[in-house]
Symmetry: C2
DNA sequence: CAGTATCCGATGCGATACTG
DNA sequence: CAGTATCGCATCGGATACTG
């Protein structure tokens, strides 16, 4: 495998060199997927649903050549696993710092206009907390309203130590049903709006056994940057 | 001024939103220039000599619209100043973190093959330390060898509290003369090679009054990431 | 000093279709 | 599941020339 040619900035500055391959379209988002634990092509792809699979394939190859990720196949080659190298793991602070800056300083509105619910639900799912008190399995059905991409129903299947996301009704026995506007769910998940307030005002309706609905905030979880407070509107970047 | 349209990733994720405008070609390097104190169009341009001035002009406009920098002109409009907004200043950790990662994990060699000495000297100059013991003015002449861009001579003019860079001989009375290979100077400046060792082995020859040459390491200074040690070669990213 | 206007070529990337 | 191959457009950005 050959090295990829990058249009050179002509600078020995480590920032200049790093941006040459890190600041391509999608690259940092692909690396974000690794930080959330994805290792297979399809899982990574689910985290960047609008990225074409051919481009993802190309990016993964580039990252392997650079030495930021490693590719491992089993003897049949049917199971492939990508993992971060040491250098790749060391990118975590870079990504977290940039994400934190965005959470603190960015206007929220524009992104909500073109919501991709596949990404939203995937993002929430992989950060859920399977509490010990939950039955096995524990099925949660989402009814999203106000969607633009036509996907309104998703299911979380909590099992011991793992959670699956599904977009088809497999005749589940539903334990909890959550009905909410997709944009509202995003805001609550990101910490931009208050969870309890959304429930109280019936913007988010959670139906099921009180044992489970009362701790929904805990098993649902929140974005890892939800704790960072946004700056006042007039100081934000109006992207 | 209208908002710029960015090709949307369709993700509310703050990292995704931030990368849409931060991870364009040159953008982070322009912001780096602000962190080093540049405020005028020409000074910024000197820090990114291979960036076309028309593109720099476009980028600055985008950053103004975003609210990351501010533009201020005097009443004639002849003096223009760009400064970081609060949101822009908050990007410092983002840039420092990425630069630090590059210093720690990147292979050094490729960047040295296409060295731009204009950038090198500008970079060194703006991080020099005008020591109190230096006379006023204090003139340093650089004789660069092994250059590829045809620029071999530069002068630093130390005055009280400021240093100027010059690429023409204005009949200066030279206090100190430094003769060194451009790649070697880069390595020493970046902390990849040892200053004292380079002097001892006559790879860097510093001629002048011992009062000044003996503390050359101090007034020359080093890159702000020079203190970060590189990882062993086999673990580095081979960009 | 501080830009703008125009041109044009490279390439990045999305869409689509196909494979083992 | 894990990709590859091909096509073609759009836009990004470099080069050059010009302005107040």
């Amino acid at each position: 495998m050959e090295k990829v040619k990058y249009t050179s900035y002509g600078q020995y500055c480590p920032l200049a060199m790093a941006t040459e391959f890190l600041c391509n379209r999608w690259t940092l988002l692909v690396l974000r997927e690794f930080l959330f634990g994805s290792t297979s092509f399809n899982d990574i792809s689910r985290g960047v649903p609008r990225m074409s699979r051919s481009l993802l394939s190309k990016r993964l190859k580039e990252l392997v050549v650079l030495g930021i990720i490693e590719k491992k196949s089993n003897f049949k080659g049917s199971q492939v696993n990508y993992t971060l190298t040491e250098a790749g793991q060391a990118l975590e602070p870079v990504i977290i710092t940039m994400a934190g800056w965005g959470q603190e300083w960015l206007q929220t509105s524009p992104s909500l206009d073109s919501l991709d619910t596949r990404f939203l639900m995937w993002d929430i799912m992989r950060n859920t907390k399977p509490l010990a008190i939950l039955p096995n399995p524990f099925i949660v059905q989402f009814n999203l309203t106000g969607t633009q991409d036509g996907h309104n129903n998703y299911w979380f299947v909590f099992e011991v130590d793992k959670v699956d996301l599904c977009n088809k009704d497999n005749n589940y026995t539903i334990d909890v049903e959550i009905t909410v506007d997709a944009q509202k769910l995003t805001k609550v998940w990101m910490g931009w709006d208050d969870f309890d307030k959304a429930v109280k005002q019936k913007e988010m309706v959670i139906i099921g056994d009180y044992k489970y609905t009362s701790v929904a905030k805990q098993w649902l979880g929140q974005s890892i940057v939800a704790g960072i407070e946004k700056r006042p509107k007039e100081k934000r970047v109006n992207y």
